[in-house]
């Protein structure tokens, strides 16, 4: 059977939803950050699929940049996590409710 772009898109969707679920459902900040990376991977997959479909390199280029951004964001996010851990002594998201109001 031929693997069409649609297969890739479904996979991408699946990974994206899983990642989204992780972001929304998990208490551990590390896990949340990792879920975000998962989501970005799903998006990259999407780009690549369409890039092949329309024979346009732009998709791949964009994916490069997405990876770049993901790296930067992971760095900053982990920095935040470190700061939070130092402040609270824990990475339990449910305990960090200073933004309540």
């Amino acid at each position: 059977m031929v693997i069409t772009t649609t297969h890739f898109l479904i996979l991408s969707l699946t990974l994206f939803v899983i990642g989204l679920a992780g972001v929304v459902l998990r208490r551990n900040l590390i896990t949340v950050l990792m879920s975000i990376e998962l989501m970005m991977n799903a998006v990259n997959l999407n780009f690549i699929a369409f890039s092949w479909q329309f024979s346009d390199l732009a998709g791949q280029i964009f994916a490069i940049f997405t990876i770049t951004v993901a790296a930067g964001e992971a760095a900053v996010g982990l920095g935040l996590l470190v700061a939070l851990y130092r402040l609270r002594g824990s990475v339990n998201l449910d305990a960090a409710t200073e933004l309540e109001g």
């Binding site: 896990t31 990259n44 490069i64 790296a71 760095a75």
Partner: protein
């Protein structure tokens, strides 16, 4: 042999898809972030292989280097250096998790329905375009490089500045004072 040739890509695809999904589930489900990081790694690798299936070889390499060798390592460093405990049993999921799960599933279903309505005209129109430079066959890396340094130079430079800023930001945030 024919069977492999005929169904090889499909089998590969499904295999890799399953690995990726399992890995993803692992990230979201596992209590210990260390295990989660490992699961994430398998997902990265599976995705990288999937990139190759679609003639994005350079990107697959970048994926492994950056994601697997950089980001994941960073995660592992942080996990190990901070000695992050795994949270007790009842604290794995957030308050009101069922509701949020339902919402997410609903969204997923919605997108799925949308997706199912899409029709794509057969295979990719011109796979060769992904690997050629100015009409000459050169390989994906060269094609990407030429396109990147010619057409997308500005975003490239901005991306590097972005990385610089992110680095500084990370250092400042993590500073012990």
């Amino acid at each position: 042999m024919n069977f492999l040739l005929a169904h090889g890509p499909a089998i590969l695809f499904y295999l890799l898809a399953v690995v990726a999904v399992v890995g993803g589930l692992g990230v979201v489900t596992l209590r210990n972030p260390m295990y989660g990081a490992v699961a994430l790694l398998t997902t990265f690798l599976a995705v990288a292989a999937l990139f190759i299936l679609r003639h994005a070889e350079f990107l697959a390499a970048v994926q492994i280097f950056v994601y697997g060798g950089g980001i994941l390592v960073l995660f592992l460093f942080v996990i190990m250096l901070m000695n992050l405990q795994r949270l007790p049993q009842e604290e794995r999921y957030v308050e009101g998790a069922p509701f949020a799960l339902a919402v997410v599933v609903l969204l997923g279903v919605m997108l799925g329905v949308l997706l199912a309505a899409a029709r794509f005209l057969g295979a990719g129109s011109n796979p060769a375009a992904l690997t050629s430079v100015e009409g000459q066959v050169a390989g994906n890396t060269e094609a990407v490089a030429v396109s990147l340094y010619r057409n997308y130079l500005l975003p490239f430079e901005i991306a590097s500045i972005f990385l610089l800023v992110a680095m500084i930001g990370a250092v400042v945030l993590a500073r012990r004072d």
